[in-house]
């Protein structure tokens, strides 16, 4: 189907740069998710690819052809909007037909196509309904159907699930992933929800303030975040961060000292790390284990029981709160003292500029 290439794409609004030079290759059949906090420019970037926003500078290539100045409909894309943007005055059939009609597809062919798509999306009994008569999930399907019938080279999704309730969102996530596996169309998907990003993406693009922070597979981002921002953004509950001081540099990694507790050896490439340097140690809640002999001690401040898991919010001697994930049967009580051991091989170290130090061993699923 199609390869999409972004070459130093920029967007300027009123002399303010919103997208600050994004370069990206999106391969054929790939499911790429743009993720980032609101205002990071992910939607703008998607809309520039769609042709709804002008590209201020840089080149956008689809299958090697520059499409900066090509009308949206002629780029061979289809888009699913956050609000679905169905035509309220047309019924489901007409909604899906509109684009085909404008493209000059003959009637019998259109009918065939719409009926096929409607069947696969279980919309066949709603074809005569207007969008106003449908539930949120059905409207969502119509919006997807409207995109599919056009047989686009690339699918664009702009936060398509954010208007659905939690249960439906989970269901649509699976449906979208299945659909992608079947259609094998290149897909660009924008969301602020990192769960959607993690579960669906082949490749995640993390954006912040118009800049790409990191591009990689979900587990690559999870296990090898390039900087503090990505480390903080990916993962729920979020990674814990502790200030540390470098004690020494060894061939097994860097030995760092916590403010209150025993030193930890983090297996990373030292680079130009110097002794006594201040750094940030990052560790995910599931990589801290309860151990009375552990490096640090703290007091349980809150217990969140999720059933399968229990999250302990633990206050360290200096007052900082960290989250520790334990199994669902843990009997922790508020105000009880706990000892914690950090799994050193899963620790991350970030230098003063917030950049991660390269780990000695890559995670086996991180690619």
């Amino acid at each position: 189907m199609a390869k999409v290439e972004l070459r130093d794409i920029r967007k300027t609004y009123h002399a303010e740069e919103i997208i600050k030079g994004v370069s990206l290759d999106i391969n054929d059949e790939e499911f790429v998710v743009f993720v980032g906090p609101s205002g990071c420019g992910k939607s703008t970037l998607l809309r520039m690819i769609a042709g709804l926003e002008e590209i201020s500078a840089g080149d956008l290539l689809i299958d090697g052809k520059r499409v900066n100045d090509i009308e949206p409909a002629k780029r061979g894309l289809a888009m699913v909007f956050q609000s679905y943007a169905l035509y309220p005055h047309m019924n489901v059939y007409q909604n899906m037909e509109f684009g085909l009609k404008l493209a000059g597809m003959p009637e019998p062919e259109r009918r065939q196509k719409i009926n096929d798509v409607a069947k696969t999306l279980q919309l066949d009994s709603y074809l005569k309904h207007k969008p106003g008569q449908l539930s949120g999930g059905q409207r969502q399907r119509v919006a997807i159907g409207r995109a599919i019938v056009r047989n686009p080279k690339v699918f664009l999704f702009d936060e398509p699930l954010s208007n659905l309730d939690a249960a439906l969102r989970g269901q649509m996530r699976v449906e979208l992933a299945t659909l992608h596996r079947r259609l094998k169309a290149t897909t660009i998907y924008v969301t602020h929800d990192q769960v959607e990003a993690m579960t669906m993406a082949d490749k995640i693009v993390v954006l912040q303030k118009g800049v790409v922070e990191q591009v990689g597979s979900p587990l690559e981002l999870y296990h090898h975040p390039r900087n503090l921002f990505v480390a903080r953004f990916i993962g729920s509950p979020p990674m814990n961060f502790l200030p540390v001081t470098v004690r020494s540099v060894t061939e097994n990694g860097i030995v760092v000292a916590l403010d209150h507790g025993a030193p930890v050896t983090v297996p990373v490439l030292p680079g130009e790390t110097a002794s006594a340097e201040a750094m940030t140690l990052g560790i995910r809640p599931e990589h801290i284990v309860l151990d009375p002999q552990g490096e640090i001690t703290g007091t349980i401040r809150m217990v969140e029981r999720l059933g399968a898991l229990t999250l302990l919010h633990v206050a360290l001697p200096d007052g900082a709160l960290i989250i520790v994930q334990t199994d669902g049967d843990h009997g922790g009580e508020v105000d009880a003292p706990v000892g914690l051991r950090l799994l050193a091989e899963n620790c991350h170290l970030f230098d003063a500029r917030g950049m991660a130090l390269t780990k000695l061993v890559r995670h086996r699923l991180a690619g």
Partner: protein, 305 residues
């Protein structure tokens, strides 16, 4: 003028940033703009031009540049000041009646009672009646000192009928105009009242607000934008009231019920003084803008909310 307007309209026009299609959308705007530009400029320029000319249709010998004499003549004419005062009175009076009454009636017809729908239709009906007809109607059928219904009513309760248009010409004209514009206010304000969130009213009740407190603190603030719209639209029309005066009193007795619109009309068409009438027109335009600017400033906060 434009400055104050633009402040006011901030809320109406403030738009999130949107994508531009490549070709200029100005092409779509321009026909309307150009045609309105012509419409507002050419007559304005011509009026300005005539206002500095000696130009009387019945006296062709009087010609040529008149300087400011038309203006001086007009501004020193007591009739003019009287007409100016009447114009302002008419606008303010009708606004007070129609907005005040409109708010009360809007709340009244928001209540549920038998036949409410039909009662509403009856109330808004005067808005559809052309000004000439309503003026004739009131002058002859309602207020005629001998045959009018109101006179008959006064006799029936033992009072002496009043020749309203002769004795209270300006107030009577104001009343007739208010009868025409009250329905408009009701129409808009009723829609606004109905759009009030029920939960808000219920929350106020939970907070212990009685009907008057609910009206004062919930309904009235909710109506402020709609009231602003009523005031703006009505002012546009009230500044130019003409038919009602022409039909009922012809501006009289004397100039008791002459507003600027009627004064200029009588200068131009009854005295054939094009120069003087044009000077009056220029002044009317200036005054309309001044009133509008004041008005707009007064209600600006409401539109910005």
């Amino acid at each position: 003028m434009f400055r104050s307007w633009s402040l006011t309209m901030e809320a109406v026009i403030a738009t999130p940033e949107r994508v531009k299609r490549k070709s200029g959308a100005g092409v779509f705007l321009s026909p309307a703009v150009i045609i309105l530009l012509i419409w507002s400029l050419i007559p304005l320029v011509l009026t300005l031009w005539y206002s500095f000319q000696n130009y009387n249709l019945v006296d062709p010998t009087l010609k040529g540049f008149a300087g400011f004499s038309n203006y001086v003549y007009l501004l020193t004419d007591p009739d003019f000041l009287y007409a100016l005062l009447n114009t302002v009175l008419l606008v303010l009076g009708v606004l007070v009646i129609s907005v005040g009454g409109g708010v009360l009636l809007a709340v009244l017809y928001d209540q549920d009672f038998f036949g409410r729908g039909i009662a509403r239709v009856l109330v808004i009906s005067p808005f559809f009646v052309m000004p000439t007809v309503s003026a004739l109607l009131w002058k002859n059928l309602m207020l005629h000192p001998i045959y009018g219904v109101y006179s008959a009513f006064m006799r029936a309760i033992g009072l002496q009928p009043i020749d309203w248009l002769a004795h209270y010409p300006m107030q009577t004209v104001m009343m007739i105009v208010a009868w025409e514009w009250l329905p408009f206010a009701v129409l808009i304000l009723l829609t606004a009242v109905q759009s009030l969130d029920h939960e808000q009213k219920e929350a106020a009740r939970m907070d212990g607000a009685g009907p008057i407190a609910r009206f004062r603190y919930i309904i009235l603030p909710h109506l402020s934008r709609a009231i602003t719209v009523v005031i703006m639209i009505e002012t546009i029309y009230l500044l130019t009231v003409f038919a009602e005066i022409s039909v009922t009193t012809s501006g009289g007795p004397g100039v008791a019920s002459t507003n600027l619109a009627f004064l200029i009309y009588s200068r131009a068409l009854l005295q054939f003084d094009i120069g003087g009438a044009s000077a009056g027109g220029v002044i009317a335009i200036i005054i309309a803008n001044i009133i509008a600017a004041f008005l707009v400033r007064a209600v600006a906060r409401n539109l910005e909310a």
